[in-house]
Structures are given as structure tokens and as C-alpha cells.
Symmetry: D2
Subunit: 269 residues, 4 copies
Amino acid sequence: MAIGRETIENILKLSNPKWKTGITRVEPNRLITRGYPQEDLIGNCSFPEMVYLLIKGEMPSKNEAKMLESVLVSFCDHGVTPPSTQAARIMASTGSPMNACVGGGLLAFGKHHAGAIENTMRVLQEGIKRYDGDIESIAGKIISSHREYGEKIPGFGHRYHDEDPRASKLIDVARKQECIGIHSELALTIQSILLEEKGIRMNIDGANGAILSDMGFDWSVGTGIFMIGRLPAIIAHVHEEKTREVPFRKLFDLEEIYYDGCDEPKKID
Amino acid sequence: MAIGRETIENILKLSNPKWKTGITRVEPNRLITRGYPQEDLIGNCSFPEMVYLLIKGEMPSKNEAKMLESVLVSFCDHGVTPPSTQAARIMASTGSPMNACVGGGLLAFGKHHAGAIENTMRVLQEGIKRYDGDIESIAGKIISSHREYGEKIPGFGHRYHDEDPRASKLIDVARKQECIGIHSELALTIQSILLEEKGIRMNIDGANGAILSDMGFDWSVGTGIFMIGRLPAIIAHVHEEKTREVPFRKLFDLEEIYYDGCDEPKKID
Amino acid sequence: MAIGRETIENILKLSNPKWKTGITRVEPNRLITRGYPQEDLIGNCSFPEMVYLLIKGEMPSKNEAKMLESVLVSFCDHGVTPPSTQAARIMASTGSPMNACVGGGLLAFGKHHAGAIENTMRVLQEGIKRYDGDIESIAGKIISSHREYGEKIPGFGHRYHDEDPRASKLIDVARKQECIGIHSELALTIQSILLEEKGIRMNIDGANGAILSDMGFDWSVGTGIFMIGRLPAIIAHVHEEKTREVPFRKLFDLEEIYYDGCDEPKKID
Amino acid sequence: MAIGRETIENILKLSNPKWKTGITRVEPNRLITRGYPQEDLIGNCSFPEMVYLLIKGEMPSKNEAKMLESVLVSFCDHGVTPPSTQAARIMASTGSPMNACVGGGLLAFGKHHAGAIENTMRVLQEGIKRYDGDIESIAGKIISSHREYGEKIPGFGHRYHDEDPRASKLIDVARKQECIGIHSELALTIQSILLEEKGIRMNIDGANGAILSDMGFDWSVGTGIFMIGRLPAIIAHVHEEKTREVPFRKLFDLEEIYYDGCDEPKKID
């Protein structure tokens, strides 16, 4: 019996697949995501449920879905002050397409910007894993270990706000949705100490980082969730730049630039 | 009376602002987005409402919000087949941070991939603006003008699916939410003709492009809305790659690469 | 006779390769680029020769190599005025890694910035292909067709310079290296007309676009060659930002931002 | 005497500049880079000299310029095996513009790919600063400290080559150009030990990292210099993909993808 070439190919391919994924099964006319047919999800599942399902692999409870919705909404926009938004608008001004402006904006989420959410989550998650004792004692150890290295605790204090209006609202929602757990307790305890000692409060990253940790998200997806929440604003800003400003506008005059390099005229040998 | 330097600076700055935006007013401890204080939005506004508010400048109706939620959910994931997902996972494999992997993935949304939603919206929106007559007549003109240039009509046919299971479900939701308007009628009429003549059906981009056009979104934000819907999956794939695969895995063996360049050994003079 | 599994795999793989390339043959301990062993190129081939070899598939003449070197050097830097440099520095300020800052900077090369070199090349290359007659006549047709649509001719005029000091020097080098051909003649003829009529001169993109066209580069690689020339400066700027400025510095004060959106306080229903 | 508004603006602007740079002074019709007028550099300065001047702030010696040229040439291309090249070609296939494909390709230079040059430079530079004793003793300490943490020493060993043909050639050029210094001696000493103990040799990153360290480049610009050298190839690959392959080609068949997620059909509540 002759074995067809196609059969051999299929056997070999299946035994040595290039890609392996547990997220979505793709077949002609059939898409199953985390076990759910996509046509069942459309119209029956909220966007935050979809986010949770994709990243965590299972459906959230109703409370968790409400909580995640508030987290995403809270990241919505901070005007044109964030470097990511400025970068995206600068790209938009040069005529770059929407996807490149948005992709470029995301590249400004370095460790000093948006990194705070991931860092907050890591500090809280590792603090609870590493240190023994009650919440007060863990909070004290986190604060002192940061002070020892002269580092700020991520998630507390803000360059524009003394009292970040989003942080306290998020904690209220978390209480209402019964999503307060050990990480939020820890963050609130740190806040009490910092507020008394230095007048510093929790910011939006602190609140979200604590709540997402309580919902079981690993710190490594923190920036990802922030990006989901912020993306609509970046798109709105790119659209605003493209529709309301002249293309390739001069953001700075030559007079606003200070040259402090070599002023002795040099000659090539 | 001496005028303080700071006063002069402030006068000059205000009269010649670097940035102008109508999206969010940022003041210390106060964030107003499209007229709404952010602490009121958190906990009271759904994520699709936030998307609509940011991009269109006003709150959607309840039906529109439900419709936009289904649109976003329908874009959720297509496994590892999309070039954007493959690119993001390749970057993840090399150890790039989450934001770079996601930003890089978005750069694969070129005109042949994800461009379809924007193109569908443009064809439908311009078709209705440009051509006179009833829906059948406009549909006929769109089809014949594409055939004349040997071009496929964006939003119809799919490289994997004869019957895209997401498209018909979306149209059902649009009917239920009373979001069917002239653009959807036009798309459905084009489908009837193509189905009879060539057996080709509307795909997810066709359905979403029609519905978003009926909701009043300009075609230029089409890719943007697609990106919001797809982002959670890209994040899930980056996370999957980083947690389940070895770093810097070899996606191809040398044997899978065919070199067809110069084989005559050359020497530098 | 039994055929080993590995043999079958290799036969199948070779007959259906995933990738095909004519640029470099990769074998264990052996790398052949465009026919040249890489160990022969290192130490014997200049960087501009390498650029030419990679993109055009063959070694340039000595004159062409010198010319391409001047082209690359001429793109070197324009301080912090270009949007690409500003974007890269903004990303650097947030702590993004070097490759993300540089990759992000490149995304600001939209059609209004750096697009000029590609557009110049296209206008010159298509002008010569499309129009009959002598150089003067083709120049006239290009000018009148742009005026008809109210468009500027790419490669002429500059937002900062009346007389771009780089353009005339490049033309001098091209004359010395005998790299002036029909595209440069055409660009110089356009300059004569625009200078007399409007006082507008060729800029660096005009000069480089003409010279690269005369060297046989297709317009579609114009932005690519510009990026090779500009990359060292972007790296220098990222390095300068990271080593001389505070991280996450505030580029704008709140006073420099003008909010012109909704000021009537709104409430969620 | 009345002071004009423009005067006040200029005074204020100069005293509070937005940007500060020592790289290039930009004035109308005048561009001075690191002290040299750009029209003097064009035609008189090689591209590697320009790279050195931009990044280090001064002209290299003739030997250093030759050495840097070899370094840049040695990074030229590795066919389609690098993830960065694969990512750039995948983006090119979807119709993304040249700058987005190249920018996206650079995002695949994560810590496991291209990171090696920076890591090599850091290990060598810090090894010499931190440890006392002769070269043999420092080499021994570097090897043992890596073994202690189960880490590979960056710059040694290669996934495709036992003997990287570029590494030994680079060391030969460095000897000829008298650019061998303490970092190269250290790298060669490490190679001797690893070769005897494990049969592992220096790779291209090891050789370049050592040589660039000896030329006084800080480790933080290592990836930058690699990107300058590799950029022409990425452009050549994007061009090859766009001109020789069909747009949006399927890189993988559905059969090559293995789904190992949930297979029990789930229902939304």
C-alpha cells in the first residue's frame, strides 16, 4: 500500500508543531476560545469578561468582572501630559498611520512610566510571599527595605496629584464588589504609614496594582492591563492630532532649544 | 508696579500653548474627561461607553454601548494565525518587555491585515456619499468598480472561513440592538450579490465595518477600534509565550530555509 | 529498504521551504552574503559597500561607494528639531531600552517627515518614465502637475533653511564622483525654475533623492537609506537623554497645555 | 523704554529651554555637529567616523575608524534566522511601510537576542573595574561567578556555529589596527579556558563587545552599534519580502499549529 505524500506531511507536522497554544482553536468556520465558541461570546460576554477569560483562562465572577471594568475605566486618560500620549501625537503629526502611532506610543511605557503598576504588583506580591508576620509588619518591612536603597515605593505619590481622585474611588468600588484582599490591605496599610510620616497617598497604580493582585493577576501582566485601559485614549489623541492640527507642526521653536556642545569651530584633517 | 517674572511667563505660556486638547482637563487632584469627572466614570461607566466617549466625545445610548461591546468582543482572538500575533510572540521569545512585544505586534497591522476594517468602512461610507440611487444600485456600483480594477471588495471572503461564524452573529446582535442602518443594509446587499454569483460571504471586518459606520464612526478610527478589541489576546499570547516556551526558541530549522541567491564564490578586489 | 524518518523530513522540508532568501546563505560555521564569505568582507569592505551589496545585490564601483558614503553622512543629524528624535528622547526619558527608543523614533518617519526622500525619488523616477521630451520639458510638466493639485514638489524648500548647506555640497560631491545622471539633471532643472520663480532651492532630500535615483536605487528603499544614515544620531540622542537628564522629566508644565473641550460639568445617568 | 513682547519671550525661552543638546547646533542655513560644519563632513568624513563622532563626541583615529568599520560590517546579516529579521518580514508581508517594518524588527532585540553584545560589554567592563589581579585571575572570577548562578557567559558559544567565522576575523583586524586592549585580552583568556574545558569559542558578540570596550564605548550603547550594523540587512529583507513574495502570505498552515487548551465545550451562563 502506498502512503500518500500528504498523509506523511500531516503526520510529521502534527508530531512537530511550530506553534502550540491553549488560547484559541482555529478551524474552518469554527473559533473556540478557552472552550467557548466565539459566536456564543459575542453578545453574551462583556469586554472585561473577555479580557479576564483571555489572560486568566476562565470566566470571572460577576463581581470580578465589574471590578475589572472599573480598573480599565480608571486608566482611561491623563490628557497630553503622559510621554506615551505625546509620543503618539508627535508621530501622528508626521503622517504615520494609526497603528504605528499607537504602537509607538506604547514604547514610551518604560520603567518610569506605566512601569509603576507592574512594580507595585511585584512589591505587594513578593512582600506577601517573602515576609512573615501580620500586614503591619510586612508593610513596615517593605517601607524600610525601600528606604535602605533610597528608592520610592511604587504606587504611592504622584507628579501631579496629592490626592489622586481615582485611587480612593477604586478602593470604594473594590469594597463594594468585595474584591478587597490581602494585597489591598497591605497597600492601605502602607498608605497609612506614608500618609502619617510624609503626607503621601496611594496613586492610581497603587490602587490598581493592589486590586489586580487580589484578583489573582500575576505582576507580569500589569503593564498589559494598563495598556488595554489606556489604548482608547491614545487612539482619541491620535485622531484629535490628525483632525485638528496642521500636519508636521513645529512643537518647538529653535529658540527653545539650548545647544551646549562644542563651539570651537573644528576642521577635518 | 513691578510685574513678577512668573506672571509674565504664565501670560505668555497661556497665550501660546504647546498643546491643545479637548479630551481631558488635567488639574491637581482633578481629571475631567469630555466633561465628566473621572471619579464619577469609575464604577458607573462601562468600558465600551468609555471607548465611545473618548473617541466620539459623548456618551452612547444603552443600545449603542451594547453594540460596541459586541464589536470589541468579536475582535478577540484568532489563535496564532495572524501575523501580528506571530510577530508579538517572536519578540516575546527574545525577552523583549510586554509593551515592546505588544507595540511591535501592532506594527503588523498593515494594509493587508486589519486594514480590511478601515477599508470596508471607507468603501461603504464613500459609496453612500458618492453614488446616487437605492441600496441595490449603490451595491452594484461598488462591485463593478472593484471588478474593473481587479480588486477584491474589503470585508468579504476570508482566508480560513467560508462562513465566518462571527459575522452573522454580529448582524444578529445589531438587529437586536437596533443598530442596523444604511451601511449595514448596503453590506448585506453586497453579500447577497456576491453569495449568489461567487459563493462569497461577509467576514468579521465587513460586519464590524458596516455596524461601526452605522454608529457614526469615521473610517479613520477603524483600525484603532480593532486594536482595542485585539489587544487582550496579544497580551495573552505574549504571556503564554513567556511562560510556556523556552526563551529564544528556534522557530525554523536551517533546513526550512531555502537560499536561492548567488552561489558562485566571489572575491573582494 | 527502509527510509529513515529524518530523510523523509528533510525531503519534505526542502521541497516546501518556509522561507526563501537570496541575501545570505547560513550554514554551520559559514556565512555567504551575496556570494561573498563574511570573513572576507570584514576588514576588506567599507560600510557603504556593504549597504550597497545588501540592498542592490552587487558591489558598487569605487566612485559609487564614495558617493553613498557622502549620502549617508549627509543624513547624520538635525539636532532635536525632528519629531523622530523628539519621540526617541521622550521614550528614553521614561526608561525604555535603547532598541525600543530607536524603533519608536523610526515610527515618526511618516509621510510628512522623511517621506520626502521617497517621494522625491518617486517623482523623479516616474517623471522620467512617464513624460517624453527633454529635461526642461519634463521639469515643466512635473512642476505644473503639482501646481494643478496645489501640492509642493518634494525635495525643495525647507522649514528651517533657505539654502540647505548640505544639498549643494552633495551635488558637488556627485559631480566629483561622476555620479550625476539624468535624475540629478532633472532635479537641478526644477531648482532653476523654482529659484527664479519663487526663490526656492533644493533641500537635502531633493539632492539625495536625485543622486540615489541616478545610482539605480528604487524609490521604495529611500526611507530605508535615510534611516541607516540617521540611526547613529538617534542613538546618540537617546544616550544623551539617558546620561544628562533626569528620568521621566516633565517636558511640559500644565500651564502650557490648553484644554478647549467641554466645560459644562456632566453627570452619568 | 518699552520692551517688545518678542524680546521678553526670547529672554524667557532662553532661560528656560525645553531641550538641551550638545550634539548639533541648528541655525538657519547652518548645521554644526560636535563642532564640525556638516558641509565639511560630507565628502570628507567616512560613515564610521560619523558614527564615532556622534556617539563619542570626537573624531576617531584612522585606526579606530577602520576598526569600527569592520565591527559594523561584521554585524551585516544572518539570513532569515534572527527573530528580528523574521518579525520585520512578517510585517512587510502585511503591507506595513518600510519604517514600521524596520522599527518593529528592532523590537525583537530583547535580552536573549542582540542583548549579548551589551551583556558582553558589561561583563568585561565591570569585571575589570570590580576584580583585582591579573587577566587570568579576572577571567577565572568571571567564569566561576557565572557558573555559580548557572548562567552562560555572554559572547561565547553560538546556536548555529561552533566556530563563528566572524569572531576570529575580527580579532585579526583588531590586531592589525592595534585596537587590542585589556578587554580583548580578557575575552581571549576566557575563550582559552572555555575552549579547553568545554570546547566553546568566542562568538561575534564576544569579539565585538571586547573590541568596542577597548575603543572606549560604554556598554549601554552596545545594542545601538549592533543596530547600525544590522539595519541595512533588515531593509534588504523587507525589500526582498515585498518584491518577491505574495502579500499576506500564510507562513503556517493550520496543521502546523497545535491547540492544547480546553476541549470541553463551555457555555456562557
